[in-house]
Symmetry: C14
């Protein structure tokens, strides 16, 4: 069961990261295009929120690697 | 069953964090682009709500790590 | 079965919190950008509704922790 | 079966509360930003409808806690 | 089977109430913001339709409590 | 099987009523806000269509109560 | 199997009626608000199409009652 | 298996009729509100297309009644 | 298996016809309202495309009747 | 298994034809309403693309009839 | 298993062709209505992309016919 | 299992190609209608991206043909 | 199990590539139509992001070919 | 189970990368078309966020390759 979970879980983690960081990157590029002189503040908010998602996604990826290698449980 | 739950659960947690923080980050960057002088208030609301989601997501991630390592249950 | 429920349930709880608080945070940042002088009232409504969702989500997270640790049932 | 239901049910309850109260909180913050002088009436309608959802969600959460602790059935 | 149904059913009931009352509360707050002097009529329609949904949702919740406590069937 | 159907069916009935009456209540409050002097006609159409949905939903709820109490079948 | 079908089928019938009559009621109230003097024609089209959906939904509900009471099959 | 199919099939038939006739009724009421003097042509197109959907839905409903009563197969 | 397929298949056929003919009927009524003097051409295109969908749906319905009556296979 | 596939496959084929030809018919009627003098070109493109979908759908329907009658395989 | 795959696969192939060619045909008719004098270029792009989808769909349909007739595998 | 995968996989491949090339063809025809003199550049980008999707889809189709004919694995 | 995974996986990979490159190609053609003189920069960004998706999709396709040919695992 | 997970997981990873990088590439091309002189900043934000998604997706792809080759677990 761990192997099944590793593969499917890794896929869903990538979907989660894709939806979240995708929406942020989408609006960040549009915002810079609309207001180029505020690109510093925009990039700050972009990195801050993207990092929060990336953190959760990496934890999920590590769980999947643990399962794929049969470590733990 | 715990291993299966660990992998899939970690994936769904990442989706949840991605949807939530993604929407917040999306509107935050757009809001800063529209009203750069209110970026302090916007960043405050952004961090406050993102933290609430991050908290729930981290609890979920910890549950998954517990399951992956076979601790408890 | 309790272990399976713990992992998947924790994931769905995070999705619920992400959808709910994400929508609130999204509109709160946009509202502050549109009407900066009403940011006090906006923040009040934001925290009030986010707290209601957070409360339900935390109850769900606690149920999942109980299941993961094998307490009860 | 009760344990499985407790975890997944708690997750779906959180999704329900998130969708419902999230939509209300989203429009409440936007409405206050658009018409700050009507914030009393808006907050009244917001709390009234959010309480109706919160009530159903709490009943669902209590059912899940009962199941998690193995009480009844 | 009754226990499984109780938990998942309670969750879906909450989703139903959340979608329905959430849409009503969303448009009610927006309508009051747009036309504050008609807030009496708006609140009347809001309560009337929300009560119809709440009634069906409470019946569903009672069915789930019956199942969780093992009464009947 | 009857018990499983009772719980899940009750949940789906609530979703049906929520979607239907929610859409009606949503547009009714918006319509009254846009045209307060036609609120009599609007309320009439609102109640008429909401009653049709409520009728089908109550039949569904009664079927679920029958199943939960083990009557019939 | 008949009992399972009765409960879930009753739920899906309610969703069908909710989606259909909900969309009709939604646009009817909006149309009356936009053109109050054509409310007779609008109400006629509303009742005609809602009746067609209600008819199919009632047939479905009767099938579910038959199954719940164990008649036929 | 026939009984299971009868209930669920009846539900999906109702969803199909609800989506189809609902969309037609929705646009018909809006079209009459926008152009009251063309209500004859609009009602003609409305009835024609709604009848095509109703026909397929009734065939589906009859199949489900056959299955519920155990006739044939 | 044939009986199960007959009921569920009949339902999905109705959904297909509902989506397709519903979209056509929706735009046909709106188009007639916008351009009443072109109602002949519009009705022609409407009937042509609706007939193509109706044909496929009727074939599907006939397959389901065959299965329900246990003919063939 | 062939019978199960025949019924459900026939349903999904109808959904496919409904989505595809429905979208084409929807835009064709709207296009004719907007530009009545180009109705020849529009009807040409409409028939061409609808025929491509109809072809694939009929192949799918024939496969389902083969399965329902137990020919081949 | 081959028979089950043939029916359901044929259905999904039709859905794929319906979505793809439907979107192309939808925009092609609208584009011709908006710019009748560019109908040659539009028809060229329409046929080119529709042919790419049709090609993949026909390969899928042939695979399903092979499975339905029990050839190969 | 290979036969089941061949049929369903071929269907999903067609859906993938339909969504992707459909979106590209949709916007290409609209773009040519809006800016006929840039049709060379538009057609270039259209073919380039459609070819990338077609490549992946053809690989998937070949995998399905291999499975349907029982080659390999 | 490897064969089942090869077919369905190849299908989902094609869906992924279709969604991703489809969205990019859709906006690229629209962007070139809106700003023909910036087509060099647009094509650069288009190829860069499409290549990132294509890379992941090709890795997934190779995994599916490995599984279909029974190499490894 | 590892083989099944490898194929389906690789597919879902591609979907995740497709959704995420697709949204970013979509808005990047549109932003460059709207504001060509800010293409440096836009490309920077585009690459930064796309790299974050690509990273998670490659980890998921590597997990799937490990599973396909039967290494580890």
């Amino acid at each position: 069961m761990g192997l099944l979970a590793a593969g499917i879980g890794a896929g869903i983690v990538a979907v989660g990261a894709g939806i979240g960081i995708g929406m942020i990157g989408k609006s960040a590029t549009e915002s810079i295009a609309r207001q180029p002189e505020a690109s510093g503040d925009i990039r700050g908010a972009m990195i801050l929120t993207a990092a929060l998602i990336e953190g959760v996604a990496l934890i999920g990826a590590i769980v999947c690697i643990l399962l794929a290698l049969g470590i733990g449980g």
